[in-house]
Point group: C2
Chain length 196, copies 2
DNA sequence: CTAAAACTTTGCATGGTGTGCAATATTTGC
DNA sequence: GCAAATATTGCACACCATGCAAAGTTTTAG
């Protein structure tokens, strides 16, 4: 077997704790929920809760799905227009995110109302941004350019999730398309010499 | 007088607490410093510390200088190329930031090693981003475009501060120029139909 | 100038947070 | 099965953050 029973149980417990955290946070706001309540809801001791997550905000955020190696390689080695290759990369990643649909929706609410949680997410996003910057450095020479592209790209994901959370009838993919259009139009405007 | 004695003393105390926090954090890492130590170093009681800031991370971040109303108005009403008007806006803001030079340098270190602190800063930055988005909505029709521009702009500030913190011989203004160049080049690359 | 109103500082009590440690229980590889 | 590795748990402890009430300071107005 590829993963041991132990490993699977660990993942399982971590997920149960995250779900318990998000559900309680959804009902009472995370700040009004104690770690004790979360642990009880997840069926573990308080101490075990802290063996999995250092605090309830980290439990709410969990471990966001990472970029796929294959997608990163495809982006770094791509030969199409840069914008198209990045968009394809984003589409693939958004697809992965969509699989955790309910978790992400609940998380969105928590993060908008909890600074500590948003800081923890920001930490993950920063790592992703750096990862993407390194990857894009293989397509563009200047590191600042790569960093700017990576920043624009990850914040498009952020805006897409925001839109999707606030517009009930929008699919995650459609929200990404809107955010992406906005990014492309912004790029055009920034390169324009004179006003509209 | 424009501000009362009370108000001036409040600002003063807040600043003393922030400085005490940053100095202690600089020596021992913020997480190893207790609120009690910070309060003692700032010459106030622990309870008073909490009357000013809800936690030590907030004390480290303090209250970042806001955008100037005049600059926002100039940007919203500007008639030059959008890129030029935004750059001018940024230059003015960076000038304000430069006035708190030592504070920002110390803060940078704290924020890079403390998730809670970076979440609090992220909260301020989000407010600035939203402010800028509203402002740019007067120059561009599509809100997603404005949001994308605002995101790219504020993250250029972030990258400039990062560069300035890591390259000893770089002025804050020069760092902004580098980050800005990166953004412009990224914009060109995103609008290019085929590969370089 | 003074007295009441408004606000600030402080100590104390209290309950939640997060870690180290040691005992107990479970899984794994042999 | 059994020993090694890993997980879970209770307990103790230090720190964090808030409410409250008493004491002190600044402001305002007569």
């Amino acid at each position: 077997m590829t993963v041991s029973l132990r490993e699977r149980r660990r993942q399982q417990t971590a997920r149960e704790i995250q779900l318990a955290t998000l559900e309680l946070a959804h009902q009472h706001e995370l700040e009004n929920v104690t770690t004790e309540e979360i642990a009880a809801a997840a069926g573990v001791s308080t101490r075990t809760f802290f063996n999995y997550f250092t605090n309830k905000e980290a439990a709410a955020v969990g471990a966001p799905p990472p970029f796929r190696e294959e997608d990163k390689n495809a982006l770094a080695a791509g030969t199409g227009a840069l914008a198209d290759d990045i968009k394809q990369f984003l589409d693939r990643h958004i697809e992965d995110l969509g699989k955790d649909d309910p978790i992400i929706k609940m998380m969105g609410r928590v993060i908008r109302s909890n600074e500590k949680a948003s800081g923890i997410l920001e930490g993950f996003l920063k790592m992703e941004r750096d990862e993407l910057t390194d990857c894009l450095c293989k397509r563009v020479q200047n590191r600042q350019t790569a960093a700017s592209l990576a920043g624009a790209t990850t914040s498009a994901i952020g805006r897409a999730i925001y839109l999707w959370n606030h517009e009930p009838d929008l699919s995650l993919g459609a929200a990404l398309d809107m955010a992406w259009e906005g990014l492309l139009e912004a790029s055009v405007l920034l390169t324009l010499p004179a006003r509209d």
